[in-house]
Symmetry: C2
Subunit: 432 residues, 2 copies
């Protein structure tokens, strides 16, 4: 071989893939990072783009920009369609192949509708920038349409927002939609009142934030209800259509439904010709390689990793980052000829979720926080974990601005013209 | 009538319509402002969104937000399809009608291809936020595809960018694309060199910036060429297709063509059943009302107004604003029963255009500026004219950041996945 360097291919530029690439800086390897998109996304703040608090460019950065100072990495924007494990090549959509000595699969998850894919049209999920701007458009167009609607029932449906799933994303979306709706209506819509707004959070489990300590779940439930958000617990959704959502004996008429209930892993298991778990994830060994495929690592939301205590490693950003760093360490060893196994140990930093303005819950294990202090810590923690100085400055300013003035910067409806064709309220001659 | 207040309908929330609405604050009238979009757009900086310098939310604001403190205005997002001049009603797409006592039509212009509408697919223009993000996507995807391209000719075409029309928008786009391209390539694309970049500006007239003083045109031409931008003068484009642009005897192979050559007015003339000029504009009288229709005013890019000196009022933001304010003054008089005519007098503040980093030209009539001083004045003038404090702060910071670090914040490709299917460069086994 003319090129003796160890070739690492990383598929996916999310938290896991990016951490793996960065942790290999200076290593004697050639890295090829492949992603379908040109940007890394800070997903924990994606709900703030969907609710018009932040702009897309405040939470996403071109992957090549983030890795621009690292000499041993090459970034390409391309779509992977499979892996030839015997030839040790990644197959790309254009028919070309990328050979590897070590392969890191970090392609993440997408929303899943538990066999009801037709629900996606009515209840979009939140995984990409496009998802977020689409939800933002839906939320803002619903208010615009309500302003023009004369039929009381249709108007009520336009001002009702349902969120399915009360994990951190669902709770944060419910709180943020409620605040966006009330703040927008107040003063900006002549014919609407903030009290007309209805936000319903629907959860299949018996409490919100199932992964948190029950005491914090309870606090969050009270805080949501006190704010005015309806929470339906222990309710499995049976039907979603263009006009609403059904669960148990109930039916809620709404034009805006957000799906925050379930995710499924990318089709990595199929690429490798193995069986995934029921969420499509690949079970990996202690060093995060696939059993029987020592040169292939699977990390992040697409991996199923069991901790020493028998619990699964959660699908959160810090877990993906730690896994990426671990895999980088294993690959460094291998590239230098050392095949000693290295066991991944996940350190759980804690769980955080905001409920709304000045309210959040944090579960650090022994320490549990709730209320305004948790909210400030949540804010600082997120700014700390952002990947760029520029973004830190701009998001801090954006948040401060909204905190002090209540004005949200990003209430733009793009890729959408005037809302559905309904009579224009109050301007018809007959009504005057 | 139960409602004795004078009813004003304004169609369009651009510079003209917004200025008219604001200038009617406190007047004893009921204003209905109708726009197809929910936002007012600061078009002079739109090219900076297209070239990844600014984010959409930095130059666009919900119209209802801008008018939130004004009690006599109602904003609706709706599409106008005509005017019933005898019944004095505006016709909306949903079949409803908005009655008016005074009507202000300020619907602006869109790009026009001089009878070659098929060119639009290959040479998009720049009028809306969606246009800007689509052009941004095209520019960034061309670089991504070039990085992967192995065929030298195709690669050259991907790295060639043609701009048609050397008015302020064309000149500013050419300069900004050149800078975006060079800055992106440098350090971020392993297989590309900044010197591979080719930007060609094609103009039908015999100089760039035809509306400016010839001396400033000359300076701009030299500055563009010195920077490395090719400028073709006196060239009428004869063909545009997916692979390039032809003019005179020449053909340029390029995958990215931007149209900045011509605009046509919205179909206001057709709504009114009258004849527009060759660009579709409506000729208006001295008070900006349509001859024979004293209660209908046409302003901004959709109006053709002749100044006392015989020259036309240019299609720029300050002209639209002044016209909006003038019409508001006329309507105030009429609402109070005073029908004395009021003649519009346009005050031309000057023409400005940036050529690139630290270079601009300003034509204030007697005073003409060029170079870095003009560039700083250009920057301060635009910040001054922005409509919101928040935006002023954020754009100032964005510009300062780029000026100091060279890092552009908004290089996101959205609504686009991996670029066209071409072999992945340098990673094919056969090449290693």
């Amino acid at each position: 071989m003319t090129d003796p360097r160890h070739r690492v291919v990383i598929v996916g530029g999310g938290f896991g893939g990016l951490a793996a690439a960065k942790a290999l800086a200076g290593a004697d390897v050639d890295i090829l990072l492949i992603d379908r998109r040109n940007h890394h996304l800070f997903q924990p703040l994606l709900y703030q783009v969907a609710t018009a608090t932040l702009s897309p460019s405040e939470i996403a950065w071109p992957i090549r920009h983030l890795l621009r100072r690292q000499k041993n990495v090459r970034v390409v924007m391309a779509t992977v369609v499979g892996v030839d494990t015997s030839a040790r090549q990644v197959l790309l959509e254009d028919g070309s192949r990328a050979p590897y000595d070590s392969l890191v699969l970090a392609t993440g998850a997408q929303h899943a509708y538990f066999g009801n894919d037709q629900w996606e049209d009515f209840a979009p999920g939140l995984k990409t920038i496009e998802d977020a701007t689409a939800i933002r458009r839906k939320l803002l167009l619903a208010l615009e349409a309500a302003e023009r609607e004369t039929d009381p029932a249709r108007r009520r449906a336009l001002l009702t927002f349902a969120i399915i799933g009360a994990g951190p994303t669902g709770v944060e979306m419910a709180g943020a939609i409620f605040e966006l709706g009330r703040a927008s209506i107040r003063g900006q819509f002549n014919t609407l009142s903030p009290d007309d707004l209805r936000v319903v959070l629907i959860e299949g489990g018996d409490r919100v934030l199932l992964n948190f300590d029950p005491e914090l779940s309870d606090y969050t439930l009270q805080a949501l209800r006190k704010a005015g958000i309806e929470v339906e617990l222990g309710q499995m959704v049976s039907e979603i259509d263009a006009d609403g959502v059904s669960f148990g004996e109930k039916r809620i008429d709404t034009k805006t439904i957000i799906w925050a209930a379930g995710v499924a892993a990318s089709p990595v298991a199929a690429w490798l010709g193995i069986e995934g778990d029921k969420a499509g994830r690949v079970a990996v060994g202690p060093d995060l390689s696939v059993p029987g495929m020592a040169d292939i690592f699977v990390i992040g939301d697409v991996a199923s990793i069991t901790r020493d205590n028998g619990k699964p490693v959660p699908g959160v950003a810090p877990a993906a980052k730690q896994a990426g760093e671990h895999v980088a360490a294993v690959i460094r060893r291998r590239a230098s000829g050392d095949a000693t196994p290295l066991t991944f140990r996940y350190r759980h930093a804690g769980d955080l979720a905001t409920i709304g303005r000045s309210s959040a819950v944090i579960d650090f294990g022994r320490i549990k926080l709730k209320g305004w202090l948790a909210w400030w810590i949540w804010g600082f923690a997120h700014i700390y974990f952002l990947v760029e100085t520029r973004t830190r400055i701009f998001i801090t300013l954006s948040w401060l601005w909204i905190y002090l003035t209540g004005q949200r910067s990003a209430r733009l409806i793009t890729h959408g013209m005037a809302p559905e064709k309904k009579p224009l309220r109050e301007v018809d001659e007959a009504e005057r």
